[in-house]
Symmetry: C2
Subunit: 213 residues, 2 copies
């Protein structure tokens, strides 16, 4: 199998969300046309995205909702629990550790880390805060897969290096800086202000807002 | 003009980011094919997205980078400053008020609000924290256009109602709950854990990761 565009993976996440909504409504069958309309892409794009992973559905009959949903969860690795650690228990790290929908997709917060002696050993959101020196051992003992990097910009690369050295394979990077990691580690940058650039469009064009069904 | 798909607006933001990068590299001309490749959509999609807003570029000759970039900034409303207020100065509100790249796109934090008597009147990240009762007056005096809703889930709808009553036309909603607003107000939900669902894919499929140029 060749490499897969990252945009395809983002769209699979969108298709999964749509399928979950259809399943919750008790709808049993769907089509590339319906998924395309809901995801605001072309039906050709839906079929092309799915074709990277095999053959789903039947020509003319479309897709069975629970089957395709299960397949997408398997493809995306969402059919198993993932253990998460937060690196950097400043304001952002604390805010995220409080996030109520954290475990929505089988992601479980297992540990928090900081390098500030004042917070190491404290309990935050029900989790003991470890020092960064404990990272390799805690990652191993608690089976941590993914790190949330919520340290200040200047500390981000060193913290990412420590995560990589500890064997972490996925990083959600909240620091507004590009971090360098080996190819086998995946970094997902989080730009929580991205939506701001759409808000201004809708403020100046209130009449162009799409009607939601 | 009819309504515009929200996905088109998101893609315009992506095209603008690509054009800014091309301009920074000193590249003067581009094409729908190049924009499509960078944005991971089809060239037809690029042309269709732009066609909602007029005719750009020349058949066969493509687009002039600075011109198309300027047009997209105008279309997205990014050619003027926008004034922002944060509603809810808990951990998340404080973390966002500290965000160093805040003013990258001419968005300017003008005021912070909370309903906790302990923080009202205090200065946080250089901004005085106002009580929610001051919202209508401060929004008017400081010309605030956009509100960041960083209150707890249970307080989100009431805070949104207050923003709407004060005349705010755009809301970035960080609370993990759907809020109801009149049609002329645009709400952009922020799901800062969305990237998590892509991380798991790349952890289980390290070999399928796209090579970045």
């Amino acid at each position: 199998m060749s490499t897969i565009p990252t945009a395809t993976i983002s769209r699979l996440v969108t298709y999964l969300r749509i399928l979950t909504s259809l399943e919750n409504q008790g709808i049993k069958n769907t089509s590339s046309e319906q998924l395309a309309e809901e995801a605001q892409v072309s039906a050709f794009q839906v079929r092309k995205d799915l074709a990277y992973f095999g053959r789903f559905g039947t020509r003319g009959a479309g897709y069975t909702v629970p089957t395709l949903r299960r397949e997408l969860r398997r493809i995306l690795g969402l059919n198993r629990p993932w253990n998460v650690a937060i690196i950097g228990m400043g304001r952002l790290g604390q805010a995220i550790s409080d996030y109520p929908h954290f475990e929505q997709y089988d992601f479980s917060l297992k540990a928090c880390f900081d390098n500030n002696a004042k917070v190491i050993g404290q309990t935050m959101s029900g989790h003991q805060v470890y020092g960064m020196d404990a990272l390799p051992q805690v990652v191993k003992e608690k089976g941590i897969d993914i790190g949330f990097l919520t340290v200040p910009q200047a500390a981000a690369q060193a913290a990412a290096d420590a995560l990589v050295a500890a064997g972490i394979k996925g990083i959600l990077n909240f620091a507004p800086v590009v971090i360098n990691v080996p190819r086998e580690v995946h970094v997902e940058p989080v730009d929580f202000l991205a939506g701001l650039k759409r808000v201004s469009f809708y403020i100046i064009n209130p009449g162009l807002k799409e009607e939601l069904a």
